[in-house]
Symmetry: C2
Subunit: 353 residues, 2 copies
Amino acid sequence: MSKYWSPLTAALEPYIPGEQPKDKKYIKLNTNENPYPPSPNAMAAMADAINEDLRLYPDPNCESLVVALATRHGLQPNQIFVGNGSDEILAFAFASFFDPSKPVLFPDISYSFYKVYAKFYGITPKLIPLDEQFNIKVEEYVGEHGGIIIPNPNAPTAILISLENIKQLLEQNPEQVVIVDEAYIDFGGQSAVVLVDSYPNLLVIQTLSKSRSLAGLRVGFAFGSAELIEGLNRTKNSFNSYTLDRVALAGAVASIEDETYFVEMNAKVIATRERVVKQLEELHFLVTPSAANFVFISHRSIPAKQLFEQLRAEGVLVRYFDSPRIDNFLRVSIGTDEEMDAFVTALQKLTVQ
Amino acid sequence: MSKYWSPLTAALEPYIPGEQPKDKKYIKLNTNENPYPPSPNAMAAMADAINEDLRLYPDPNCESLVVALATRHGLQPNQIFVGNGSDEILAFAFASFFDPSKPVLFPDISYSFYKVYAKFYGITPKLIPLDEQFNIKVEEYVGEHGGIIIPNPNAPTAILISLENIKQLLEQNPEQVVIVDEAYIDFGGQSAVVLVDSYPNLLVIQTLSKSRSLAGLRVGFAFGSAELIEGLNRTKNSFNSYTLDRVALAGAVASIEDETYFVEMNAKVIATRERVVKQLEELHFLVTPSAANFVFISHRSIPAKQLFEQLRAEGVLVRYFDSPRIDNFLRVSIGTDEEMDAFVTALQKLTVQ
């Protein structure tokens, strides 16, 4: 604590990112990174962007990327916003659409950064409990409130809700913005981006960090009605006009345009996940139905915290959340087949008596 | 206006970046970019960073860059913060150190984004007028207030204040944070970074965009006491934990380590500036004393707005601010010798009857 901090900063409860260990080489299944490299076209485009033009500001409107996304999704450029990772877009969206005089609704178990954003903007969160099987109870997102945000598929549960459920959320709440955070949608879900033309209160947020293997590049994007996108731009231009650098812009455009590679790599991740789910079930794990590049698992008899520590000792990093309802679960990212074989082998050793 | 915007977003008055024209090729002296390319070492380091590791998150603490800056300035790593351009750091600093219940002091003529940040955070700005010669009146930055921010050298006036003046500001206001925005300090000023160890209320902000020729990379940094840096980190980690991508980090480290190139390029910009100032004075311009990579000029008889438009027609873009006190001035970035010769030739045609 410092006398120089503003009351806001003194009261913050910052997000703690997943561990990035430097002490030794781990099989790293703790931050939901993609095990495959980015599109070779994206890397070539980035290499091309390293030239003398770096002395010049980037395009603050990121037109090349907006147009590439508009083309891919059959939308207009004014329905698209891009930013420095989906986290930055979430931060702008909380400011742009959520009125601090009313509570904002999100699931009791979801991305832990939502509470942090709420605190930053003085917004009261109203946590809507998932049901016993960790499903989002769509019918409970009603009443007097200032907006809704849900991850789909949810994190860390990995569970998807249907487009019909998203429509229900939008129709139940025509006066409030509904943000659907689709960081993991490409691993088995259907994106709500197809609803953007029909619902002016829908904002869909995606990222290059997971299905595009570009966590290291910091690029995210949002789809919504022109009025929502204009709101995001007003906020961005009151905070930082140039959020994407020239190299990131070039890489992002080439990644979006490389549909073939994208489809192929996601299919590999999904195939590995399906195989591993079966193995985990054979090892007496409860595995929630996953539409993400991670699985959320709980062993029938061995406490998750113990397994988390034992796996770490075996050189495998997974994520453990010491939080109510999920403190007997582990979140495990889907790595390569070799990494997952090593993970399953370690679990066999730890769980089979 | 949209019913979905928060009251905050509806009330914002966003910043408007300098024009980045696409209609034709201009001599671009309007956004204070450096005319010389970035350090070749920086470009080589960026090229090296384009590899499969882009699938992984970057280091959220940006340790490599923090250590490079600490080494260069003889500071501890906990006295350094880095971010996505100095604009982002300014946005975090306004949140971290300025209490919205009190006015924040800055010069009536200064970086126009300060007012935008104040609006974003609900802070009331108290503008302290520059004197007749556009000097900052240090003695007037006193009384009941929530903090101070000044650019040094000031923009768009280009005028420097001394380290003695900065010390006076700090000593007059021991209970408030004083932010010195040194975007242009490397073109002739002495940085207040040497005062960081002595004044816990000092935050110095710099950027790679000007003297390092990396406007296209979006990297800035701040120097201050450990408690101020911790405050910035609390805010950042409540907004976006991973603001710098892997390529930007690599390029920034190599740029900071290439002192020889940095010194050489800045000397070239300064030499060109000094030569051009003489030519402008011969053409009957008032030129404020510049310690920046731009000059702030006013012609004895021809209105600035007219010259701005005529220069544009001649293919030379400069910046004109239609604001009180400075609406008869032009801000002109220092380009290459060839670009400045073309600029002076155009002015000769326009001003010599």
